[in-house]
């Protein structure tokens, strides 16, 4: 597989603040990659470095095999959509979309043809003569996308393009964006702080924190096998229970021995944190032969529509808290009254052990 974009050891500082530290990344042609992380993690800085809008202090960037590290944005080959859309308010929709085309001294008829084509692509063929202020937020977002695509760039950069929209429009546009990207096969990088967006859109996710890449992987990998406690905590919800390694593949939580199913990497006697997703915790009606079974007291039950979340305290591990999500579609929900004790089990294949 050829890499369309390669980032090599890129670093960037703003005064005393290190925004990016030794970041390396390869993106394949046609891939949809999401940069995900909390605000200030460096994801937008990395995007702007790739665009050439804020030059990196060190490291190299290649687009299409060409070293663009020191080239201005105009000499790189990308289209960009910002959170604010940055549509020119005094130009019509058609003029906005054609803005980058007119400059290339091409024949006006060809420009018009291309603009019409793009308007159809984004499903707004009737809006050509309107000004941005007359459009809805979702329509503005699509016009910004069409403008970025107008010059047929090989790389599309999206800086939180959906976060200015209300929830319903955001969901619809997310699907449209994904479909459009698939159809065009354009290599796309999107910056977002919304994990649902990243999980739903990306072929691969890049989770960032404090200027470094924590983990790169498919949404399934990131969610199912988080490499660090930060990723586990930032993407989805994770229970963390203090534990001590007792052997290569077992840990002790309070007075209970837990089987992790595979080597966890902690030396025996060292402290760690046992992680499990709430939906992976099993709640049973009676104790039987499940692995890693234990009794827990129900502290609280919260209703969340499609599921209920039970807060549980394992009897044999004072102080530890485990949340368990149970689908409300299941009819034989065990009697989860606060104050009662229920048997639960922690499936070994869903357990992760992190450093303390």
């Amino acid at each position: 597989m050829t890499h369309h974009l390669s980032v090599r050891n890129v670093g960037k500082r703003f005064g005393a603040f290190t925004a990016l530290k030794d970041v390396s990344l390869d993106v394949a042609a046609g891939e949809f990659v999401c940069f995900l992380g909390p605000s200030g993690c460096g994801k937008t800085t990395l995007l702007r470095a790739i665009a050439g809008l804020d030059r990196q202090d060190e490291g190299k960037i290649f687009i299409g095999g060409r070293d663009v590290s020191n080239l201005p944005p105009a000499a790189r080959d990308f289209g960009i959509v910002f959170q604010s859309y940055a549509l020119f308010p005094n130009l019509t929709v058609a003029q906005n979309i054609g803005f980058g085309l007119v400059n290339r001294k091409s024949d006006p008829a060809a420009v018009r043809r291309r603009v019409t084509e793009l308007l159809e692509t984004i499903g707004l063929p009737e809006q050509a003569a309107k000004y941005p202020v007359q459009l809805s937020g979702g329509q503005q977002q699509r016009v910004a996308l069409a403008r970025a695509l107008a010059t047929s760039p090989s790389l599309l950069l999206l800086d939180e393009p959906l976060s200015a929209l209300d929830a319903r429009v955001r969901l619809r546009l997310r699907d449209e964006l994904k479909a459009l990207q698939r159809r065009l096969g354009i290599t796309t990088i999107m910056v977002t702080h919304d994990q649902d967006e990243a999980l739903g859109l990306a072929d691969r996710m890049v989770v960032m924190n404090q200027g470094v890449i924590e983990q790169v992987g498919s949404p399934r990998e990131i969610y199912g096998e988080p490499g660090t406690a930060f990723v586990a905590d930032f993407v989805g919800t994770m229970n963390f229970v203090p534990c001590t390694a007792s052997s290569a593949d077992r840990v002790r939580v309070g007075s209970i021995e837990i089987d992790c199913g595979r080597p966890h990497g902690l030396a025996a006697g060292n402290a760690g944190r046992l992680g499990i997703r709430p939906e992976a915790v099993r709640v049973h009606t009676h104790l039987n032969g499940f692995g890693n079974s234990l009794m827990a007291r129900v502290d609280e039950v919260g209703f969340h529509g499609g599921f209920v979340r039970a807060s549980l305290s394992p009897l044999a591990a004072p102080g530890a808290r485990i949340a368990a999500d149970l689908s409300t579609g299941i009819t034989d929900l065990p009697g989860l009254a606060p104050g009662t004790d229920v048997p639960i089990s922690l499936p070994p294949e869903r357990l992760r052990v992190f450093h303390a």
Binding site: L71, A74, N103, S106, V111, T151
Partner: protein
């Protein structure tokens, strides 16, 4: 969304690297604006500084000039005169302006736009106009001469009266802005706690307006101490710094001593400037983005008092203005009060006739056009440019500097710089072009801030988008930035025009026989005893400035309505 997005080959062909040309144009542009500002601001001021440390032959003498200045009793006397007259004017103007601004921002005063307009009227007059009016009111032939109980208006009394009129709008604007930045929630909280009106006023209102009051005080003090026109016309034998500088330079050709006076005049202005910077930084923190604008509640007593005060003071302002206008039409004051246009036949009183007025119009138009282009392009580079931090920083620094330099000082600096034998630019000396350049430099800062403010309101990503689309910055500037900023650009142009038309203090050192301006002709006709014609010329200037402003208001409406249809939903 539709099916496919075919790639159009003739559109995707990559153009030759557009970045290098763009960067060169940007670098040349920044260098050009910085060079212009160095030439019209930094070098003249530097020459003035150097001049104050040399003798008349140009040899370095250290602080000798300053020593001689402070050991000359007459000169020290005028320093003292300047200081107390300025302080007294400030002490009178600030409470008046506060009362007027309070009435407009914090009460339910009716006809607010009218009262606003009245308060701002003096901005459109040459400062000399109010002095001429007070001569007609309290002077030797004055209609109300008796009211002074034998005291003469030609001296400190006349100066203070005229300065109060002239400085009022400046103080009013600053204080009204400060009072306008009020947070309704603070007043709601005070009321909820049962706080008395007086305590609310002293605990909430005054602290909120404190910075505005300090800033306005400095501005007024500086305006008075550096103004040349009013003491020249109504000061009589009462010597002040500004008239000293004029006498030293124009009368005695003693440039080093003129430079010393210039530098002393710079002190309060620089103090005012620094205070203002510090204050603005604090003022920002005062009003958070979540503040709720204050809506004055009904209070019959306060509203009535506000009406009474604004109506009587507003009438005074209009009255002072009206006296000069009326006197300019009177055939022979005070013996023949029939109205005629006799005084408008300027050729009878000044050989140049109407030529100074035409010169003023041409000069103001040039200042407006040249200035608007330089100011806007400079502001664009500062706000929207990337890279070349040193060059852009220099532009910003030099753009903010003129705020701290009184016109009189800048005028002196121009004399020293452009009249120096070594300066090839000397051929500009006494030309209308140099006068207009001087006005651009004099009024640069406010125009620059207007441009910056407008540019700051534009999405900073426009430039990024243009770069990604390989569109050079000048095309985005021409098609997007300038059209969006059109109202601010008009503001800058009108501001420069009106000020160039009415200013006296800087240009009085720089004009020549061929480039005499209307404002200078007013001084000359007054000096020659043709006060009525001086009033007539002042009236013409006032009418022109006001007319241009009204045209501007009409044009803005049109620009917003027709040319900027994109603003409407």
């Amino acid at each position: 969304m539709a099916a496919t997005l075919p790639v159009d080959d003739d559109l995707t062909a990559s153009p030759p690297d557009p970045g290098s040309l763009e960067r060169s144009v940007f670098a040349v542009g920044v260098a050009a604006v910085a060079l212009v500002l160095v030439l019209i601001i930094a070098l003249p001021l530097g020459t003035l500084l150097a001049k104050s440390f040399t003798d008349t032959d140009g040899a370095f003498v250290g602080l000798a000039n300053y020593q001689r200045y402070f050991s000359t009793p007459a000169l020290v006397q005028s320093l003292w005169n300047s200081v107390w007259v300025s302080a007294l004017t400030t002490a009178i103007v600030i409470p008046l302006a506060f009362g007027y601004a309070y009435a407009i921002t914090r009460t339910r005063l009716p006809l607010k736009p009218l009262f606003m307009a009245v308060a701002l009227l003096p901005l459109f007059t040459p400062s000399l106009l109010s002095a001429i009016s007070f001569i007609y009111i309290f002077g030797n032939q004055g209609i109300l001469k008796g009211w002074l109980f034998g005291a003469t208006v030609y001296g400190p009394i006349g100066i203070v009266l005229a300065q109060v009129f002239y400085c009022f709008p400046h103080a009013f604007l600053i204080i009204a802005t400060a009072l306008g930045l009020a947070d309704q929630r603070l007043y709601d909280a005070a009321q909820a706690m049962g706080t008395s009106r007086w305590r609310t006023f002293t605990a909430v209102t005054l602290p909120g307006a404190k910075y505005g009051l300090i800033s306005a005080s400095f501005v007024v003090f500086t305006l008075v101490i550096t103004d040349f026109g009013i003491p020249k016309v109504i000061g009589g034998q009462f010597a002040v710094l500004a008239t000293d500088a004029y006498k030293q330079v124009v009368g005695q050709q003693n440039f080093p001593m003129g430079a010393v006076v210039g530098f002393i005049l710079l002190i309060p202005a620089v103090l005012a400037f620094v205070t203002d910077r510090v204050i603005q930084r604090r003022q920002v923190a005062l009003l958070s983005a979540r503040a709720v604008p204050l809506v004055p509640g009904r209070n019959p007593l306060a509203d009535g008092l506000a009406m009474a005060f604004c109506a009587s003071f507003g009438l005074l302002l209009v009255g002072v203005l009206a006296v000069a206008v009326w006197a300019s039409f009177v055939t022979y004051w005070p013996y023949n009060l029939t109205l005629s246009l006799k005084n408008y036949g300027f050729a009878e009183f000044d050989a140049a006739g109407w030529q100074p007025y035409r010169n003023s119009l041409l000069m103001a138009a040039m200042a407006s056009v040249i200035g608007t282009v330089i100011v806007f392009v400079g502001a664009y580079f500062v706000e929207k440019g990337r890279g070349l931090a040193a060059g852009r920083g220099l532009i910003q620094l030099l753009a903010m500097l003129p705020m701290a330099v009184p016109g009189l000082v800048l005028g002196l600096a121009y004399v020293f710089f452009f009249n120096a034998p070594w300066n090839p630019l000397g051929l500009l000396y006494t030309t209308l072009l140099l006068l207009s350049i001087n006005c651009v430099a004099h009024f640069y800062t406010v125009a620059h801030i207007t441009g910056l403010t407008a540019l700051k309101q534009i999405d900073p990503e426009f430039e990024s988008v243009s770069q990604s689309l390989k569109v050079p910055f000048w095309r985005t500037m021409g098609r997007v930035t300038v059209p969006i900023c059109m109202p601010a650009i008009l503001d800058i142009a009108v501001y420069l025009f009106v000020n160039a038309l009415t200013t006296v203090s800087a240009v009085v050192f720089l004009y020549g026989a061929q480039s005499k301006l209307a404002a200078i002709s007013i001084v000359h006709m007054d000096e020659a005893g043709a006060t009525a014609s001086a009033a007539a010329m002042a009236t013409v200037v006032f009418a022109t400035a006001l007319g241009v402003k009204l045209l501007h208001l009409a044009a803005s409406k049109w620009v917003f309505g027709r040319l900027q249809a994109w603003r409407q939903r």
